[in-house]
């Protein structure tokens, strides 16, 4: 038995270092008909 944890941005940490609002509006990016918020990366290098 083995458990491998993928490297993931912790949602709780992103309370402190998120919310700058500079990311792209998800619906503008490709589909225009079904939302894909998780498909858009964060663009804040900080």
């Amino acid at each position: 038995m083995k458990i491998k944890t993928l490297k993931t941005r912790d949602l709780r940490d992103s309370i402190k270092n998120g919310g700058c609002g500079e990311c792209q509006t998800s619906c503008q990016s490709a589909c225009k008909t079904s939302c894909g918020v998780a498909n858009q990366p964060c663009e804040n290098k900080e």
């Binding site: 458990i3 491998k4 993931t8 309370i15 792209q24 509006t25 990016s29 490709a30 939302c35």
Partner: protein, 453 residues
């Protein structure tokens, strides 16, 4: 809350409130499941009964205990208590969808925009209106530095002069106001030529090109005024465009309907044509429409997503990577919690502007007078409607409460939710099912590619 699933030989556990993703073998997955509700000794007993080695069980249970202590397994919901702070957003605007043309040179019967006219009169936006829209965006964007403008229709190339003038005007304001504009455009390709390609390569951050896939699929709906299919006209243009696009962003974007729930074949066709950045969306239409997806289509749609995920893994292994928009998932650098809670921002951060300068929550609400929020001359004239959108977030959808995928989908598309349930706080159940399937496929791809590396 955890969610567990197995796909393509990968066994995956998603820890919903930390965002952690754990990849295990089958027994590891069972151990995680049992540890959520049973005492350690009982878990041990259950696993021994499965014929597993006692030492291996001990090591796994220790690992699970460690992950639990680190808050990466069975993490509690600490977010909902802060929900009220997300309901006091100020409504700074960062993106506009400019409807520069409420008319089109194609007459696709499945078009949610009713052949580009959005259930109203044909019209082209004047530069005067477009200029006011840019000023409105700058004035209402607060501290936001990156602003987005999407040129939409109808077919925006029918009003290309205004597109160019608008871009030039916005660029002239960047330095003065400390803003950076990001322009995008969605086109059907009929008027695309080398000169436009050159211009798009200079000014458009992203170009969305409409193609539904196989010729017979594409030409079923995407026809001109004489009923002639557009596939033969646009495909060579798109291939030429993509060659000249270099490493700049574009998406070949298709729609699948009741007539091709096996849309995997259409994606494969797009890849065969040489396209590498792809998006394929379920049709948006009323349930009675002949093109609407039915309950019986769903298993075929889900199978298509699974086939597609496996196909993309194979292409990646072969060194020919292809990106499918809804499988894009950057686990390490994904959106922050704030973004995941407020969603796409329609009606608050994002508005649509009609050719006459009327404001709507987004492009999909245009044409429904009950959702007209104001206009460029007077600003927001329906603060009650704006408040409804500002107060809509992941926590305001009661039906999302127990969904494992909520931090990936953020409550879904407001327009789809209203269309399906009659309420902004409702949900579009079929859309939820499709979204969850996409996310399972995307997570499986992450696990498979991690294994590969």
């Amino acid at each position: 809350m955890i969610h567990q699933f197995s796909l393509n030989g990968c066994h995956i556990t998603v820890d919903v409130y930390s965002g952690a993703v754990h990849v295990t073998d089958e027994m590891g997955m069972l151990a995680i499941q049992l540890c959520e509700s049973l005492p350690k000794e009982e878990v041990k007993k259950a696993l021994l009964a499965k014929g597993l080695d006692g030492e291996a069980i001990g090591q796994t249970l220790e690992q699970i205990e460690g992950l639990k202590k680190e808050g990466q397994l069975y993490a509690p919901n600490v977010f909902e208590q802060n929900a009220s702070c997300f309901q006091k957003r100020q409504g700074e605007i960062k993106a506009l969808c400019l409807h520069v043309a409420h008319t089109c040179n194609l007459t696709c019967s499945y078009c949610f925009a009713a052949q580009g006219r959005f259930h109203g009169q044909s019209a082209l936006m004047s530069f005067d209106v477009a200029k006011k829209a840019i000023d409105f965006l700058i004035q209402n964007s607060g501290k936001r530095r990156h602003l987005e403008v999407d040129f939409f229709g109808g077919e925006p190339l029918l009003n290309m002069d205004v597109v160019r003038q608008t871009v030039t005007y916005a660029r002239s304001k960047e330095k003065e106001f400390g803003k950076v504009f990001r322009f995008t455009i969605t086109i059907n390709g009929m008027f695309l030529d080398d000169e436009l390609t050159e211009y798009f390569n200079q000014e458009m951050d992203n170009v969305v090109l409409s193609l539904d896939g196989r010729k017979e699929v594409h030409d079923r709906f995407r026809v001109d005024a004489f009923g002639k299919g557009s596939y033969d006209m646009i495909v060579p243009k798109f291939q030429r465009f993509v060659k000249k696009r270099g490493d700049r962003s574009y998406y070949i974007r298709g729609t699948f309907t009741h007539h091709n729930p096996d849309f995997f074949e259409d994606i494969r066709h797009m890849v065969d044509l040489g396209f590498r950045e792809l998006s394929m969306e379920p049709v948006v239409t009323s349930p009675g429409d002949p093109s609407a997806l039915t309950k019986d289509d769903m298993p075929i749609v889900f199978e298509a997503y699974e086939k597609l995920a496996k196909y993309l893994i194979d292409l990646n292994k072969a060194g020919k990577p292809v990106r499918f928009y809804h499988f894009n998932l950057d686990l390490e650098n994904g959106p922050c919690l704030y973004k995941r809670i407020v969603g796409c921002g329609s009606g608050s951060e994002y508005l649509a502007v009609t050719p006459w300068g009327d404001l709507y929550p987004c492009h999909q609400f245009v044409g429904d007078a009950s959702y007209k929020m104001g206009n460029l001359d007077e600003g927001i004239t329906r603060p009650d409607l704006q408040a409804d959108f500002l107060e809509t977030n992941l926590f305001s959808h009661s039906e999302c409460k127990d969904c494992w995928a909520k931090f990936y989908c953020s409550g879904g598309c407001a327009a789809n939710n209203v269309r399906a349930s009659g309420s902004l706080q409702g949900i579009y159940k079929e859309g939820c099912d499709i979204f969850r399937k996409r996310m399972e496929c995307a997570l499986m791809m992450q696990a498979a590619m991690d294994e590969e590396n």
